[in-house]
């Protein structure tokens, strides 16, 4: 637990955008009367009109978001700011923000303890500036968009990797209509091999019904990140079709070549003998054996 907390802290430190990061007051946990959650702070200084900050969370946490806006030339003494979650204004978050040494400062503590609490939080300064904080569990690297193909009766391995951080555990689901069915190991059918940072689902004795989308889930305390892996099971007929067509093409070619040659040779045969005879006559040789052989050799291709 402490290891992942340290990890989160170091990540947050890396997230700070400006050199002049300003740490505001240390917030006190405002979690309800459950087990106290760890606290963390993310602070962003905005100089322009908008900014987006990605925050990766593994575990439930009380997160303080600090927005500091340096305003523009005509800095009014106060401005109305509010917070939004996923685009919708959070109730009773609207308040008046005073200028404090050329800066507007909005701070709010959020209790992120469930999956639903992840999302896109924004602090909005009037109509003029906005900072987005995207709170999410660790995501996978790019999806593999090409389906994995395998044959009926064969076995296939579906893999998922997540480099950092390592998930607590892995789960696999198969899409069934709109629902996801959990896959558990079955002999001769499903086999799950897990290591810290990658997982492999082996499906044996494939049938065409096994085609579909599988989901591998990287389980974190806060949320399970899913990734789709498409499996397509085909019969051996599929590649057999182009193969047969190529086979037919080869047979046709060979037959055509041989037939063509037969037709040609029928025309050529009388002339051919004549030239051969001429060649032989022209070479009186010392060694008898070689002469005929060598002359026919010479005019022929090897």
């Amino acid at each position: 637990m402490s290891a992942s907390w340290k990890q989160l802290l170091s990540q947050v430190l890396l997230l700070l955008v400006s050199c002049r990061h300003v740490n505001t007051k240390t917030p006190s946990p405002t979690a309800p009367a459950l087990a106290p959650l760890p606290t963390n702070v993310s602070s962003v200084v905005l100089k322009g009109k908008s900014h987006t900050e990605n925050i990766q969370l593994l575990n439930p946490v009380n997160l303080t978001l600090v927005c500091i806006w340096t305003g523009h030339q005509n800095t009014a003494p106060n401005i109305t700011g509010h917070w939004r979650k996923d685009g919708e204004e959070i109730q009773s978050s609207r308040r008046s923000v005073q200028v404090d040494s050329q800066q507007y400062n909005m701070t709010r503590v959020f209790s992120i303890d469930k999956e639903e609490n992840l999302g896109n939080y924004s602090c909005v300064f009037g109509d003029e500036a906005k900072i987005d904080f995207i709170l999410a569990a660790p995501q996978f690297d790019e999806d593999r968009d090409k389906p994995i193909i395998s044959y009926v009766g064969d076995s296939v391995g579906l893999t998922c990797k997540m480099a950092n951080p390592d998930p607590n555990t892995w789960t696999w689901y198969k899409e069934n209509g709109t629902a996801k069915e959990l896959i558990s190991a079955e002999p001769q059918r499903y086999e799950i091999k897990n290591t810290n940072n990658h997982t492999k689902l082996l499906v044996h004795n494939l049938t065409e019904a096994d085609s579909g989308v599988f989901f591998c889930g990287a389980v974190f305390a806060i949320h399970t990140t899913m990734r789709p892996v498409e499996l397509k099971v085909i019969t051996f007929m599929e590649p057999l079709k182009p193969f047969i067509s190529i086979l037919v093409e080869v047979v046709v070619l060979v037959a055509a070549i041989l037939l063509f040659e037969r037709c040609q040779s029928k025309k050529k045969v009388p002339a051919g003998d004549g030239t051969t005879a001429d060649q032989k006559n022209m070479l009186p040789q010392g060694d008898d054996n070689a002469s005929e052989g060598s002359s026919s050799m010479r005019q022929r291709k090897v």
Binding site: Y151, E238, P239, A290, G293, Q299, K301, V302
Partner: protein
């Protein structure tokens, strides 16, 4: 009298056949079959990734598949040549194409790595060995004046087809996985059978002539026949042995840049893409070099052996310069040397085979090529491990490239010991128990003018 006879022979030969007509059709067949043999071999890397994943074996174990295939192709080359001498080039090539396709088709059903070694390695390798040497020898016999150009055009297919096959194989693997892709490749390889069908069968009355009527036991007679077909007697002739030695020395250094250039470029501080680009650029000039050198050689301004020596020596020099150019850290220098090296290495491949009939005569060319392939390839196996060893000892690639570059230069020096090397015209190629020119072309006409009648009747060459 001999002079008159030779002239009329040469005239009738030129009118007779080679250098045109069906020769170009055979060249097309060679183009396709070479691309299906070597172009395919070079693009098998795409399958290896799939094999590593599917069979859960190491990359090294999987790479043995292509090593086995290549070794089998080279090992069975003399066999292919001997079978052509004994029977019929057409049958041999068609059988070879069938075997090559069969190997890949069977490989698609493999359930373990050993199956792949047997099918893709041995069976397909045997098929490829039965295809390549006979087709090359057939085409070489069909051309005389434009022989080198024909070879250059045909061998350019290797580079071009590996360009085309890489994306094609990737697509096939994505659509059908490796099993389906291998099945389809097997079908494609069967096209070699069609290429072989294009060879017009020739009546070989030579065969009975070769075998002296023996009163000894048939076993000895059989052995003698076999050794005749394999042209083993060539191994006792100095010119052939010299030439084979030269080409083997060349082979030791020839492949080193292909294996180590990327690693060396990375070590010199260039990025992955920069290193890969140098290799691609060298590959492109390789194709260009093959065609240009073939065309240039057939202008007949210089003897083929001199041109070959030039390209070989230059290739050796550029191999040596490769690490030197990157010493200064200049990427441009590395690219330029890489381009030049690619050009020279392509240029020499067109000529390496074309010189053989000049040394051994056209009728022994088939067996000579087979033996040459076998011997030169075993030398090639030494080069890469040696350079790897040098790199491990010294820590960088400077020594490996220097040593590798010195081998082609040694090869050039060895070539210089060939008889009649320093004369300006080609000597008459050796005749086997017959008079008259075997090797046609401008050279033979020069010979008529320059050489004495006694030379022509000198059997067995030098």
């Amino acid at each position: 009298m001999t002079k008159v006879k030779s002239e009329s022979e040469s005239r009738s030969d030129e009118a007779e056949g080679p250098d045109g007509g069906w020769g170009w059709v055979l060249l097309g067949a060679l183009f396709i079959s070479t691309s299906l043999v070597f172009g395919l071999m070079r693009s098998l890397g795409i399958f290896f990734v799939e094999f590593v994943q599917y069979f859960e074996e190491s990359a090294q174990a999987v790479s043995w598949i292509s090593s086995t295939g290549l070794a089998a192709q080279q090992f069975f080359s003399p066999l292919g040549a001997a079978l052509c001498n004994a029977y019929n080039a057409r049958l041999v090539v068609m059988a070879g194409g069938f075997l090559a396709g069969l190997g890949l088709i069977l490989a698609s059903q493999a359930t373990c790595l050993a199956h792949l070694y047997l099918t893709m390695g041995v069976i397909s390798g045997l098929g490829w060995g039965l295809v390549f040497t006979p087709m090359v020898a057939t085409v070489m016999a069909s051309f005389t004046r434009r022989r080198t150009l024909a070879l250059g055009l045909a061998f350019s297919s290797i580079g071009l087809s590996s360009f085309a096959f890489n994306p094609l194989f990737q697509l096939l693997v994505e659509m059908y996985t490796w099993r389906g892709a291998l099945l389809i490749l097997g079908g494609l390889s069967l096209n070699i059978v069609a290429c072989g069908a294009l060879i017009r069968p020739k009546p070989r009355s030579e065969a009975p002539a070769k075998v002296d009527p023996e009163s000894k036991s048939s076993c000895v007679a059989q052995l003698q026949r076999v050794s005749n077909y394999l042209e083993l007697s060539l191994l006792f002739e100095r010119p052939y042995v010299t030439y084979t030695l030269a080409i083997s020395l060349l082979n030791v250094g020839y492949f080193v840049p292909y294996f180590h250039l990327v690693a060396h470029s990375r070590q010199a501080g260039f990025s992955e893409y920069q290193a890969a680009f140098v290799m691609s650029a060298a590959g492109a000039t390789d194709i260009l070099g093959r065609v240009v050198s073939g065309w240039f050689a057939d202008l007949h301004h210089f003897r083929l052996i001199h041109l070959l020596s030039l390209w070989t020596a230059l290739a050796g020099v550029f191999i040596m310069l490769l690490p030197v150019s990157s010493l200064s850290g200049s990427y441009i220098a590395l690219v330029v040397i890489g381009l030049l090296y690619g050009f020279c290495s392509g240029a020499l491949t067109s000529l390496a085979f074309a010189v053989v009939p000049m040394i051994v005569g056209v009728e022994r060319m088939m067996g000579a090529l087979g033996l040459l392939q076998l011997i030169e390839s075993s030398a090639g196996l030494l080069g890469t491990p040696l350079s790897g060893l040098l790199k491990d000892i010294t820590g960088n690639y400077m020594a490996s490239f220097m040593v590798a570059g010195s081998f082609p230069i040694l090869g050039t020096l060895t070539m210089a010991t060939l008889p009649h090397y320093f004369s300006c015209t080609d000597p008459p190629p050796p005749q086997r128990r017959s008079l008259g020119d075997k090797d046609k072309g401008l050279n033979s006409e020069l010979e008529q003018m320059n050489t004495l009648p006694s030379d022509i009747s000198d059997k067995g060459g030098e």
